[in-house]
Amino acid sequence: MNKPRDKERLTGVAAADARFAERAKEQFDGSVDRLDAAALSRLNRARHAALDELRQPSSVGQWVRWMPATGIAAAVLITVMVMRGPRDIELIVEPVAVTDFELLLDNESLEMLEDLEFYSWLDAADLDTYGNVG
């Protein structure tokens, strides 16, 4: 029984809300139109300052843009190096001092140091051609 009346009331409320919103919008638009010249000028400057950001390319963007060219250049360089082969690559000869140093740091060398007495005795003793102590 009350349903049509409720519906009418709700429709009335919604219509009043809509009228209120419309009036509020009119008031707001009026206040926007009344903005002074100084505010408009500042807004204009702010907008152009923001758009300047668009003209400055990001560093990531720059990298991405040049990535294909860089990749192909690197591939060409590697191909050339492979084709020329290792002829031009100089053999790297390690200095003797470095080799000796590595020998000293070797595990076996450490064992030798532990049995120093044995090795000094071995050195003092005479060995025959078959390796027997004479």
Partner: protein, 203 residues
């Protein structure tokens, strides 16, 4: 060598294409920002009652939109822009609240200003309007501004975006970062609260 030259040529063509796209995008952004900037300033100003600060917030929102979302479809710019702006307004209130608490801690503020809106409302008009300008402003708009400012944050955002900026429910939801249902609830409550408050002035 010819491969390198080809790649360079492709890069140059792509560069030109990108330049043209940038110019077009810049023109579209310029048009969009010119359309929204004045309403955005007023919305921010109603939110924080300080034109200079509102201007800074609008400029920050413009820069963030251009830097982070220029490549997004044009239709998304408006809700994204207002989302950035609303976040800025919220951050501004948060900072103000923290500052007020610190002032209270050092005994320089009143102890009962928990609501930052009351504190701001009591401040002198920092927009620096002359008496003549004040007279020009419609009394109804002043009443509306005061009433809108007194609304809870989410209701205020929903009301301003729906009514002042003309967003639909979906657009408002994107701008506020919430569901469409929440927007409807906040908006409905805001309108009823404002009608109750402004009834005598607006009926």
């Amino acid at each position: 060598m010819s491969a390198c030259a080809g790649v360079f040529a492709v890069s140059c063509i792509r560069e030109q294409a990108t330049g043209a796209e940038t110019l077009q995008r810049e023109s579209q952004l310029n048009q969009f920002l010119a359309e929204v900037e004045r309403r955005a300033l007023r919305i921010a100003e109603i939110g924080i009652r300080d034109r200079d600060e509102a201007m800074d917030l609008v400029q920050d929102a413009m820069i963030k939109l251009v830097k982070n979302y220029a490549a997004r479809p044009q239709g998304e710019w408006a809700p994204l822009f207002y989302r950035i702006l609303q976040n800025g307004v919220r951050d501004w209130h948060r900072r103000r609240k923290v500052r007020n608490h610190i002032m209270v801690w050092f005994g320089r503020g009143s102890s009962n200003d928990d609501d930052d809106y009351d504190f701001v409302a009591q401040a002198p008009d920092p927009a620096g309007r002359s008496p003549d300008e004040e007279l020009q402003i419609d009394e109804a708009m002043q009443q509306l501004e005061i009433a809108v400012r007194a609304l809870p944050t989410r209701q205020r955002e929903a009301f301003m975006l729906r009514t002042f900026e003309g967003f639909d429910v979906a657009g408002t939801a994107v701008a506020m970062g919430c569901s469409a249902g929440s927007v409807k609830t906040h908006y409905s409550r805001a309108v009823h609260a404002l009608r109750d408050k402004l009834g005598e002035h607006w009926q």
